[in-house]
Amino acid sequence: MPLTTETMVLNMGPHHPSTHGVLRFILRTDGEVIHRCRPDIGYLHRGLEKIAEQLPYAQFMPYTDRLDYLAAMNCNLGYAITVEQAAHIEVPPRAEYIRVLVAELNRIISHLISVGTFAMDIGAVTPFTHAIREREWVNDLFEELCGARLTYNYIRFGGVAFDLPEGFLNRLSQFLDYFVPRLEQYNRFISKNKIFKERLVGVAVISQQQALDYALVGPNLRASGIDWDLRRDEPYSVYGDLEFDVPVGTSEFGVLGDCYARYWVRIWEMEQSVRILRQCIAKMPEGPYLNKSKRKLKVEPGEIYVRTKAPRGELGFYLISQGGIRPHRLKIRTGSFSAMSIVEELGAGLMVADLVALIASLDVVAPEVDR
């Protein structure tokens, strides 16, 4: 009797530990191999763009926290810069440095979650607790700064909400002194771990052409070997005055553009963020932290597209104003959205377990996909 085989449809999610929020994949599998993988998104759609049209500019700031709750500072910053450019608001130098400082600190903890959950998704549970332990310290620092540990609502048009508390910079350098050796330890434990490498090297390779076609951004783009960083190439805020390198994926450890390359780019980015933070501490100018001259916000009719670099890559705000106190249209373009769209093409032909590695390596965060 001939052995009959048929493909099976498997639902992965919406509640699955590796989906980082609520995502669903409809898989057609042949044994362990995926024939087709279709992402089904929208479970966390909150209509942020519609809400933005109904609120005065300043009141939308807390919603940007929820855009990507792992990188609330960066989302705050992107939105603030957009409105400031449209309304011509000056930002004092001290505020600019504080902003870069909190943005880079947030990038570190966002990447910590990313690499921690990455290890957990493919079966190593302990590294996650290591990452969370380091992140806790930063959460404490942020709490001291603005009272919140996750959704900060800290950045204002024209500056920041509060000045740095007494002794904050000292405690920050203490954290950095503690963090750098920890990162090396983390690398010894996980990054160079043989099992970890075997699971990731050569899995789900994204070519440069694919990365461009799907408009990938951030670490996912750089892991494919494209040397592009908004902070360096289109500097905003005070990034132009700071020195840092742009980590680009290499084929030194595996294959250019594979899961392992994407993992390493995030580790290296954390090292660069530490460098930027040290310079911010050394260069922190005195002076006002908020430009209070423009209390009545008026945006003249026109349109503007501003992008900044969030941990998940370019965060673009497309703002159309027709005058008045509310935006006519605010389109939010996020890194996770384009990263999700490539999963269907890359997923075909992978093993089910490798799909988990792929999703983790793209570092998608569901609320940022759905908005």
Partner: protein, 179 residues
């Protein structure tokens, strides 16, 4: 290349007729083109080695209900090779009767793959049909959702699948509980 230089090259390939260049407003200048020319221009923008727009940064729908009821599709293009950007717009009239017959434009998902999901989102939110798209359906909202929420005249439905979208029923309970 500067936006003006890109505009000159575009004029040379598809002619000056019907192009509207808007640069007198604050913010970024943009080019409005007739929808029939979109696909041809898109292929050229990506393929021409002097322009080489290799990424589609953003695709947005916009609904205006001022003097004219119209829906815009906005394409933000970027060239990583040359580090320049350009903004294209297509305007679609939205008449009161059978608007969905008129909100149609060629899909560019075959040119920039990233457009595939962005176009699905624009359909979901604005009801714009992208002709020639491989897998055209809603993206974020459920398939049986009625209407396109980012249209300015969108009315929120009272219920979805028998579940009320307002909180009127619970208001009574709240009042009772809080005495």
């Amino acid at each position: 290349m500067e936006a003006q230089g890109i505009l000159e090259r575009i004029k040379r390939i598809i002619g000056e007729a019907d192009l509207v260049w808007i640069d007198d407003q604050p913010g970024d200048p943009y080019l409005v083109i007739p929808k029939e020319k979109l696909r041809r221009l898109a292929i050229y923008l990506k393929g021409d080695p002097h322009l080489a727009f290799d990424t589609l940064m953003c695709l947005s729908g916009v609904h205006n209900m001022g003097e004219q009821d119209e829906v815009e599709v906005v394409y933000h293009l970027y060239s990583l090779r040359h580090r320049h950007r350009f903004i294209l717009k297509v305007k679609l009239d939205r008449p009161a009767v059978f608007p969905h017959f008129y909100l149609r434009v060629d899909s560019i998902s075959g040119i920039w793959t990233a457009a595939a999901w962005m176009e699905r989102e624009a359909y979901d939110m604005f009801g714009i049909h992208f002709v020639g798209h491989d897998d055209f359906r809603r993206l974020l909202l459920p398939t049986d959702w009625e209407g396109h929420p980012l249209q300015k005249d969108y009315q929120e439905p009272d219920a979805y699948r028998g579940t009320s979208t307002t909180r009127e029923e619970t208001e009574g309970i709240l009042a009772e509980e809080s005495g």
